[in-house]
């Protein structure tokens, strides 16, 4: 992993989703095998340098997935986990679902990037169920992704639309996985979940004091 041990602060305002994706992309090592979850994490692919050598995994049975298919390229037999038509790069490989999830569960992926409703200070992840009593439960591959990769990165806004923090002392939404998140990329800060606690490595348009005030989670700040 690229170290982000020194603290970086930017005076500009919160990042948009593309900027968060670019930040994640910069922290993905060259040649890494990576699964990008459905939704915002997919944007990370757009920010990987052409020569990064990063190999994308899609859990429906493929390594070295290429970009989304353009109009003339659509092949109904070639889709990603979000059921979007995609393309294949040289050196791709296909395999069945049990082999694909064995690859994940066995810890062979270097990085997995996921969205989240909530992440706890211990790295618990909640991203599959809002807890609404009338919601039909549907988990897909979320729990498998959460436990499998060597590093699990989360991409999310730090606050809900109503202003509630999503980095929390303890998740109130149903869990996806226990103590599985390594790093959280948000619009206003990047957090490392460490054995010593939650460490802030970067902020964007927010001060330490403001951040500490708005979260109920004790924060460590890397040295400036």
């Amino acid at each position: 992993m690229n170290p982000t041990s020194h603290f970086a602060h930017s005076e500009r305002g919160p990042l948009d989703k593309h900027e968060i994706a670019a930040l994640v992309a910069r922290d993905i090592p060259r040649g890494a095998y990576v699964n990008l979850g459905i939704g915002r994490p997919t944007l990370v692919a757009d920010h990987l340098p052409a020569d990064s050598g990063v190999v994308l995994h899609t859990e429906n049975g493929m390594l070295n997935m290429g970009p989304a298919a353009k109009d003339g390229e659509i092949d109904p037999d070639l889709i990603n986990a979000g059921k979007i038509p995609v393309t294949e790069l040289p050196g791709a490989a296909y395999f069945h679902h049990a082999d694909s999830f064995a690859m994940m569960r066995g810890g062979h992926l270097d990085v997995c990037v996921l969205g989240a409703f909530q992440v706890s200070a211990e790295g618990d992840l909640a991203n599959w169920h809002t807890g609404a009593p009338d919601a039909i439960p549907a988990v897909g591959g979320a729990m498998d992704l959460a436990v499998g990769a060597k590093k699990v990165f989360v991409m999310m806004t730090l606050f809900t639309k109503t202003g509630a923090p999503k980095l929390v002392p303890r998740c109130t939404y149903p869990l996806t996985g226990l103590a599985c998140v390594d790093r959280v990329y948000t619009d206003v800060a990047v957090f490392d979940i460490t054995p010593r606690g939650v460490s802030v490595s970067r902020t964007f348009g927010i001060t330490h004091e403001e951040l500490a005030e708005q979260l109920q989670v004790p924060l460590l700040f890397a040295r400036t």
């Binding site: 493929m62 037999d77 988990v139 897909g140 226990l178």
Partner: protein, 223 residues
């Protein structure tokens, strides 16, 4: 035993009994055995348990089978989708049972059924609502949930090509659950785009060996 080449999808699904557990391949439309599902609708078996990644989309295929009230229970990873209104309606009306299983556990539990494994300790889902009530065990400092096999009476799968002996190859991500389901059901029925003479598939590239395949039918090309 010898793989049966069927004249049509109706012959292929003949004899599926009421109360059967039916594994249905496909992820999205890729690998979805559309002809076989349509034939199963005509065939009439009811009180089915369907194991598939989703619980039907739109008004055709699995959704149509559900709409006819023929499915007692769905075991799947992701029932709720933008166009899963048939399932949603039955579920909210309490007219269908649902077991939600993490996608990898769904695959691995079928793999276990096919491989003669009695049960396995799996790290996925530990501490989540989907592991509630399940036995857990700590092994080498990590907690695992005990998961049991999912075995089918019948598997309906889609593949790219069969030889006359029943060996199968798939195409791209349409492979998905097919090879696993083929190992996990008593009767395996494959819909393929193409049937070739035995010997025309390179033995190094066979994905589902003929031993797993009971019946093969060529799919009806899209009009």
């Amino acid at each position: 035993m010898t793989t049966q080449l069927c004249a049509d999808a109706d012959e292929a699904v003949a004899g599926i009994e009421d109360g059967s557990t039916v594994l249905v391949g496909g992820f999205g439309m890729a690998g979805m055995p559309v002809d076989l599902i349509d034939a199963l609708i005509r065939q009439g078996a009811r009180d089915l348990t369907v194991v598939s990644n989703n619980a039907g989309n739109g008004d055709t295929g699995l959704a149509a089978l559900l709409a006819k009230g023929r499915v007692r229970k769905v075991i799947c990873s992701f029932p709720r989708q933008a166009d899963s209104w048939v399932f949603d309606g039955l579920y909210r009306a309490g007219r269908i049972e649902l077991e939600v299983v993490p996608q990898g556990n769904l695959a691995e539990r079928m793999r276990a059924a096919g491989a003669g494994i009695g049960a396995f300790y799996c790290p996925t889902g530990v501490g989540t609502p989907l592991a509630e009530g399940k036995e857990t065990r700590e092994i080498d400092g990590r907690t695992y949930v005990l998961e049991y096999p999912i075995k089918g009476d019948v598997a309906l799968i889609g593949a790219q090509r069969a030889d006359r002996m029943g060996n199968l190859v798939y195409r791209k991500t349409a492979r998905n659950f097919g090879p696993v389901m083929a190992t996990a059901a008593t009767t395996v029925i494959a819909q393929v785009r193409d049937i070739v003479e035995t010997g025309m598939i390179d033995p190094e590239t066979v994905v589902t060996p003929s031993i797993y395949v009971d019946r093969v039918v060529r799919e009806v090309p899209a009009a």
